[in-house]
């Protein structure tokens, strides 16, 4: 029907027709798949949700005399430094280390700030304190470094997120008798509440279920700047069981993303903290889906009632947790689900309001010609095994 090159021509000439997923689904309901596919060139999906498997690469630039950093803290958050002399990796879920017990006041837990907050601050242009120790060598004689940095005083600063954009996730509940603090927020005992974190029919990868359109090299909106899909994400699991509409019944595909953080906007990169679980990062990601044929529109027309997620009981702290079965996203978005005869209130964790804004912003970029589409240079694997960590060697048995 149309190629990515043809779409890019239309973007340059200003005649491209772009719809958000919501607009597209409404159009399909009104005029059908064939007519929609004829009229629309690009569909944009946006999401804004916690993505803790994220982090930033920083290259400080060399000091004089130079240092080979072996340990480094940014605003008290440990950054990994076991590679290039002034290369750092700041993980979003790394907790700030307490500076000393005297400085902790009672109401504050240690570590309610973390890597995600430092990344947000840097993107916002704030100053961050850097403390580092080095290994003195003939090449790098300096032993310590104590300074302040901003995004403008460091050589490079980009997000490199090993796992983002989960294609489907789980619904968390707590069948036990005490409150649990999880990466989905607090879960009340005796099925007191349920939390889901995927946008369902608005989630980017639910609308390209077999990753036919997106692959390595696809250009995206990442945190308010330009980013790219670089690889399959960690825990990428394309072999998850699927419904006849090709959508997975639980966590499945994931993507690794990269993008220049110096261009990003703190509105779309927000440090966050889950009580008694730890810090994380909320991130806005927008994805363009080229309407190459009618199949693209058919996939993007998927509705919440056609998508399911498993309800998982977090009270059993094991790798495989018991499930209360599957529930549709239409049920989840109604605010209540029935579990074993009990009506349970459901809250989301992905922000629909901000996800819509991400989609609108990417739509504007494409319409005003500042964002063109790229064809993937390689597809994301669709048959990857999922290996759990079995523990070998002699085990200490705790009696």
């Amino acid at each position: 029907m149309r190629t990515i090159a043809e779409i890019n021509e239309k973007i340059k000439s200003g005649s491209v027709v772009v719809l958000t997923l919501e607009e597209l689904k409404a159009k399909v309901a009104a005029v059908g798949i064939a007519q929609t596919a004829k009229e629309v060139d690009v569909v944009v999906a946006g999401t804004f949700e916690p993505m803790e498997a994220s982090g930033a690469i920083l290259n400080l630039g060399h000091t004089d005399p130079p240092i080979k950093i072996r340990q480094c803290w940014l605003d008290g958050v440990l950054a990994y430094s076991g590679f290039g002399a002034v290369d750092l990796y700041l993980g979003a879920s790394q907790s700030a280390e307490p500076l000393g017990m005297a400085e902790l006041n009672e109401s504050e837990e240690p570590g309610d700030r973390g890597g995600g907050h430092v990344i947000e601050d840097l993107i916002a242009g704030k100053t961050v304190q850097l403390r580092a120790t080095g290994q003195s060598t003939d090449c790098y004689p300096r032993a310590t470094l104590d300074t302040i940095i901003t995004k403008d005083t460091i050589n490079q600063f980009y997000l490199f997120n090993p796992r983002n954009l989960y294609q489907n996730f789980i619904v968390g509940v707590n069948g036990g008798d005490r409150q649990l603090h999880t990466y989905l927020g607090p879960l009340q005992p005796r099925l007191g509440n349920a939390v889901y974190s995927n946008l369902g029919a608005l989630a980017p990868l639910f609308n390209d279920p077999r990753l036919r359109l997106l692959g390595i090299g696809s250009r995206i909106f990442l945190g308010g700047g330009i980013g790219y899909i670089t690889w399959e994400g960690t825990q990428h699991f394309p072999l998850q069981k699927r419904l006849p509409n090709d959508t997975p019944i639980g966590p499945a595909a994931t993507l690794a993303l990269i993008g220049d953080a110096k261009q990003m906007n703190p509105k779309w990169v927000r440090g966050c903290y889950f009580k008694q679980y730890g810090p994380s990062l909320m991130l806005g990601v927008g994805v363009p889906l080229p309407v190459l044929d009618e199949e693209v529109v058919r996939c993007c027309a998927v509705k919440d009632e056609d998508l399911v997620a498993p309800i998982i009981d977090f009270s059993i702290p094991r790798r495989v947790r018991p499930t209360f079965g599957l529930v549709t996203y239409a049920q989840l978005k109604s605010g209540r689900v029935k579990i074993e005869g009990k009506t349970v209130r459901v809250a989301p964790l992905a922000s629909v309001a901000l996800s819509r804004q991400v989609a609108q912003e990417l739509k504007q970029w494409i319409e005003n010609g500042s964002f063109t589409l790229t064809a993937p240079v390689a597809q994301i694997p669709d048959d990857r095994k999922f290996i759990a960590q079995e523990i070998w060697g002699s085990q200490t048995v705790l009696e």
């Binding site: 927020g185 607090p186 966050c272 809250a347 964790l349 922000s351 629909v352 309001a353 901000l354």
Partner: protein
């Protein structure tokens, strides 16, 4: 008219059937929003009083004369609109559904009159956008 007040009882006053006295002597409907009352301890209740304006003032004066501390400045939940990302996580822990997401805009909606200031939303918020005024 309605007035929301916080009452703090000295230990010896905990035995007094306060809502009965308010109804009987002042014709005031007392809706208990939140209470922490136990034998032989300082008690605290947040209560919404509904009745005639003069009767309300008379009731507050009477309670003060009984050494009940009456506070009109109530603890309230504050939402930082700038910080809120409208994720909706707080709506699942709010027991009175004072916090909801708008069904069309999906923006967070706070209905203050429903709030019982249980404060469960405060630690739930992942971006620390919810706090109390004191």
């Amino acid at each position: 008219m309605k007035k929301r007040v916080t009452l703090t009882f000295p230990r010896r006053m905990v035995q007094m059937p306060i809502t009965y006295r308010l109804a009987k002597d002042f014709n005031i409907a007392a809706n208990i929003i939140r209470a922490q009352v136990a034998p032989n301890q300082v008690g605290k209740i947040v209560v919404e009083l509904a009745g005639d304006i003069d009767q309300l003032d008379a009731a507050l004066d009477w309670m003060r004369s009984q050494e009940i501390t009456v506070s009109l400045a109530n603890r309230e939940i504050l939402i930082n609109e700038e910080a809120c990302v409208h994720c909706g996580l707080c709506t699942g822990t709010c027991p009175t559904e004072a916090l909801t997401l708008d069904s069309k805009t999906f923006l967070l909606n706070f209905t203050r009159s429903r709030c019982i200031v249980c404060e469960q939303c405060v630690p739930t918020c992942p971006v620390q956008a919810i706090s109390t005024n004191f």
